[in-house]
């Protein structure tokens, strides 16, 4: 078993009818990492996750899940929260969690005991014997999430885990993900909310139009865009466009331009020599959101072309 990668796949492709939903995706999730799969709606994230887990078979490509070529062989070591949440409404919260554990090989007795502990930790101890239909949507979602970790999986796969949760439960979920990572589990999750990815991910892949457009760390994703300089002169009259980079844009009293390849020093030298002075100067790193929008935008342009 290759311990370096919890999940690896090359050239995954899936077609539904005439539409090629996933088109040759490569992915490699390091063991013990929190890995995000980012993409706009309809990018192929869910289909990719389903193929990785063996819920559906790829038309093309190879995959390895926890060292197994057949994902089914590793299913007892995996926890999964699907995008479309689903629980049996007539089941009690404790039983629902134990049932999901039993599906993954955990005996019922241990499952029920652990379910009680997990519900207490999540602040839902009072609802352990409530039927799912009596719980709020957020609580039910949390119960399902607890069901996906009750058997202490080595790999936790979460498809859009934050959707539908209020800020308090989103925070609980982030804590749970980090707790699972600290326990030694690998976490693979999909999202289109950049803030969560920025806070949680060690590495991420951006998928758009069924293809992987980026793979790397959050910093590397941000690095695909140049930093932006915002400059406000002390004496605006002394600033002429030829002192600034060609793509500088005036925004009120400020000038904005991408950080030149040679750095900010030559530009500053010219401005100081001309007597423009510096009232305010900032170099802004692009956010993951901006990097995502650019990468996805390029993919959309490519698709149109």
């Amino acid at each position: 078993m290759d311990n370096q990668w919890a999940v690896s796949a090359t050239g995954l492709a899936k077609r539904f009818g005439e539409r090629r939903v996933v088109d040759g995706v490569d992915i490699a999730v390091p063991t013990g990492a929190v890995y995000g799969v980012l993409g706009p709606n309809g990018a192929g994230k869910t289909t990719t996750l389903r193929m990785l887990l063996g819920i559906i078979e790829p038309d093309e490509g190879q995959r390895m899940l926890l060292g197994h070529a057949h994902p089914r062989d590793a299913s007892d070591l995996v926890g999964y929260l699907p995008e479309e949440r689903g629980l049996y409404p007539a089941m009690k919260a404790r039983d629902a969690i134990a049932f999901m554990g039993a599906l993954r090989g955990l005996d019922w007795k241990t499952g029920r005991a652990r379910a009680g502990e997990l519900l207490e930790q999540a602040g839902l101890g009072h609802a352990a014997d409530n039927k799912i239909r009596k719980l709020s949507k957020g609580m039910a979602q949390l119960v399902q999430l607890l069901g996906s970790v009750v058997h202490r999986p080595k790999l936790l796969v979460l498809d859009e885990p934050f959707s539908g949760l209020d800020p308090v439960n989103q925070e609980r979920l982030e804590a749970l993900i980090l707790g699972e990572r600290d326990r030694g589990a690998t976490i693979l999750f999909s999202t289109h909310v950049m803030a969560h990815a920025e806070r949680l991910c060690d590495r991420l892949a951006i998928i758009a139009g069924g293809r992987r457009r980026f793979e790397g760390t959050v910093d590397e994703a941000r690095g695909t865009l140049r930093a932006r300089v915002r400059y406000r002169p002390r004496d605006p009259e002394r600033v002429s466009p030829d002192l600034l980079p060609a793509d500088a844009v005036r925004e009120g009293a400020d000038w904005r331009f991408p950080l030149p390849d040679e750095g900010i020093e030559p530009v500053l030298g010219r401005l100081l020599a001309a007597g423009a002075g510096i009232l305010n100067l900032s170099i802004e790193r692009p956010s993951l959101h901006e990097a995502f929008v650019r990468i996805v935008g390029e993919a959309a342009m490519e698709a149109k072309a």
Partner: protein
């Protein structure tokens, strides 16, 4: 994947389905459905019986004979009536003294108020004339027999000799052909009735997972084959509970019945012997349940709404009745190509083989048939799981196979 793991996963699904079905108030309704059915049938039958009895009390057969002959006719009626069961007895006999126009008197009897004559006899006993109304042909024959007995008594000096027979019940060691046929029919009917009542229950079981969206959780954790088989076994457990409950109830009720009923049961004599027949009956019911259940489950899994599931019930029942009819036809012609076809065709095979167990003592065909049927259960479950995966578990599409475009 190990077989042990597959069994564990299957049993997890089966356990969930069994508990979810049995521990609900609705299950009590299901469990007592036969009682409700019997109660309604009994009320209906009692009503019909009462109406029929009310009319039959006034029905008469009439003998227009001289007063001297009337006692002999009445005595003949008393003796002959003994051989009939109560519900098969001819209408009560009424005697009349002949008038001058006896033929006119006989016709007038049909129009008389206060009673309904079904047949009227008049004329000399060796050449009597019997008039009869609608549904009176058999009573006309009965009246003719009474005339014959009365005539015989007259010729023997007024009464027929009385006979005192010694009646000894005899139990035959060899199964009778009639008993075997009866057993075969009951076996086929038993398997058919139980599967008709119980296997149809699995049609809608996948709908719960689809409507609750639990299916993806299941599909990610266990193979769909285990989901399908687990559901079949879960509902089979419900069926076994149902049969166990009613079997116990009927067993207790039967023990209270009179010995004559037990004698009737004793006539049921399967060719393979009763213990082996009981085992084979259970095995074929299991196979019939799994086979038909897997087909119904596959079809039901493709339906996404309750309306679609309800619409599927009729074709499903037609298929079941079709298999039953095929098997009955085969029973009436053993060793024919029809019988072989019914034994080989997977959906009718459990019915036909249950019938064969009653009529033929060879055991090897049953081993072969059970293996054959088991193979088809596996094929149906695998096919069902694949169709389901293709039809339902693809992102953005939940089209059943009959709505899917070929591409």
């Amino acid at each position: 994947m190990s077989a042990r793991r597959l069994i564990r996963q299957t049993m997890t699904i089966a356990r969930r389905d069994f508990i979810a079905t049995v521990f609900t108030p609705i299950f009590l309704l299901f469990l007592f459905a036969p009682l409700i059915m019997v109660a309604f049938s009994t009320i209906g039958a009692l009503g019909a019986r009462q109406a029929a009895d009310h009319g039959s009390e006034r029905v008469r057969i009439v003998a227009i004979v001289p007063d001297a002959v009337a006692p002999a006719i009445a005595e003949a009626d008393r003796r002959a009536r003994k051989v009939f069961r109560r519900d098969e007895e001819p209408p009560a006999l009424m005697t009349m003294t002949p008038s001058r126009d006896v033929a006119g008197q006989a016709r007038a009897t049909f129009e008389a108020g206060g009673y309904d004559a079904t047949a009227v006899l008049y004329g000399p006993l060796d050449r009597p004339t019997v008039l009869y109304g609608p549904r009176g042909a058999r009573t006309a024959d009965y009246l003719a027999v009474l005339a014959g007995s009365a005539l015989a008594a007259e010729r023997l000096g007024g009464t027929l000799p009385s006979i005192s027979p010694t009646k000894i019940a005899f139990t035959r060691q060899r199964p009778t052909l009639g008993g075997q046929n009866q057993t075969a029919f009951l076996a086929v009917f038993g398997v058919f009735f139980l599967t008709l009542f119980l296997a149809g229950q699995v049609v809608g079981t996948m709908a719960e997972e689809r409507s609750n969206k639990v299916i993806e959780v299941l599909a990610a954790a266990v193979p769909l084959e285990a989901v399908f088989l687990g559901k079949l076994l879960g509902m089979f457990g419900v069926a076994v509970l149902f049969i166990g409950f009613w079997g116990t109830v009927l067993g207790q009720v039967t023990s209270l019945l009179p010995p004559s009923f037990a004698g009737m049961v004793g006539e049921l004599s399967p060719a393979v012997g009763l213990p082996m027949f009981a085992l084979l009956f259970i095995a074929y019911f299991t196979m019939a349940y799994l086979l038909l259940g897997s087909v119904f489950l596959t079809i039901g899994a493709q339906a996404s709404t309750m309306r679609e599931i309800q619409m599927l019930s009729l074709p499903i029942t037609i298929v079941q009745v079709g298999m039953f009819t095929l098997t009955l036809s085969a029973l009436s012609e053993p060793d024919s190509w029809l019988a072989r076809a019914a034994e080989i065709f997977p959906l009718s095979s459990p019915f036909a083989m249950a019938g064969l167990a009653a009529a033929d003592d060879a055991l090897w065909p049953h081993a072969l048939a059970l293996a054959w049927q088991g193979l088809w259960v596996a094929i149906f479950v695998t096919m069902g799981a694949r169709l389901f995966r293709r039809g339902v578990l693809q992102s953005g599409s939940s089209q059943p196979f009959w709505k899917r475009k070929r591409g």
